[in-house]
Symmetry: C2
Subunit: 136 residues, 2 copies
DNA sequence: CTTGACTTTGAAGTTACTTCAAGGTTGATC
DNA sequence: GATCAACCTTGAAGTAACTTCAAAGTCAAG
């Protein structure tokens, strides 16, 4: 049995995060000692690590809850899992495209100025102030 | 003079956002009519539009405040502006790299399953449950 | 003069946590 | 046994950038 800090170290997240996951019911209530302390065993820590890995992949808390529910039904078909992964991948890809557009615009702005003149003549602020900016 | 909804339409954001910007002091308090309504003129709307464009470029509220302060001092050198843009560009590029790593992992997970078998045999959940996942 | 669309405010909801304050527990040392 | 650091508990508040809500006042058209 491990205390919350030990479980946290093993799963790779702060103890406060474990308490948070318990509070929002992503994880079941931990067993308690007579002192009120939470105690975890290996299976609990594995579940927590599963959650952390899914979170690192960008899944929302709700999506992780879905994944856990699916993982708990080993006999149902796994296309639900595939769908969740695909949805997540699509949203990540979409975000990448948005950020790439953003980066391109920032680079364009950057090229409008060499930092050597007064702000009055700065091409960057001129571009940001330009009403026609949103077009194009 | 425009009411808040008219200003919002022209600047391309909800009226609630304008009130929010005023509350957090990103924009100065708007002029008020005897009825208590906020009224905006063209210059106010241009400033608001500037803010919206900068926000669309991913600048934080604080960074936008910096940009506005800089823009208000037309005689100082504009290297501060350049620095802000460069910082923002770097953080966007970093985020893109992170997301690309994420997308690659998700695609890898995806290839571990064709959605045709029970969850017990699903390569995706197996991979997510694998203690060795974090290595590699 | 009624109706519907607007406006006001402060407060709470959102996401996923983190941080804090105030207090109890544990284990080692003196 | 006392003390001390390092742990644990809880509920509440802070974070970012808004959005949504409720309750109430205002305005313009018909």
């Amino acid at each position: 049995m491990f205390t919350i800090a030990q479980a946290a170290r093993r799963a790779g997240c702060p103890a406060s995060t474990i308490r948070y996951y318990e509070r929002v019911r992503l994880l079941p209530s931990a067993r308690r000692g007579t002192n009120g302390y939470r105690y975890y065993e290996v299976a609990d820590i594995e579940r927590l690590a599963f959650v952390n890995r899914a979170r690192q992949l960008g899944f929302s808390i709700d999506a992780v809850a879905d994944l856990l529910r699916l993982a708990d039904h080993p006999h149902s078909p796994c296309d639900g899992v595939d769908t969740l992964i695909a949805t997540q991948l699509h949203s990540v890809e979409k975000r990448i495209r948005q950020l790439q557009t953003l980066a391109a615009r920032l680079r364009q702005l950057q090229s409008a100025c060499d930092g050597e003149h007064p702000i009055r003549e700065c091409g960057i602020l001129a571009a940001l102030s330009d009403t026609r900016w949103n077009e194009a």
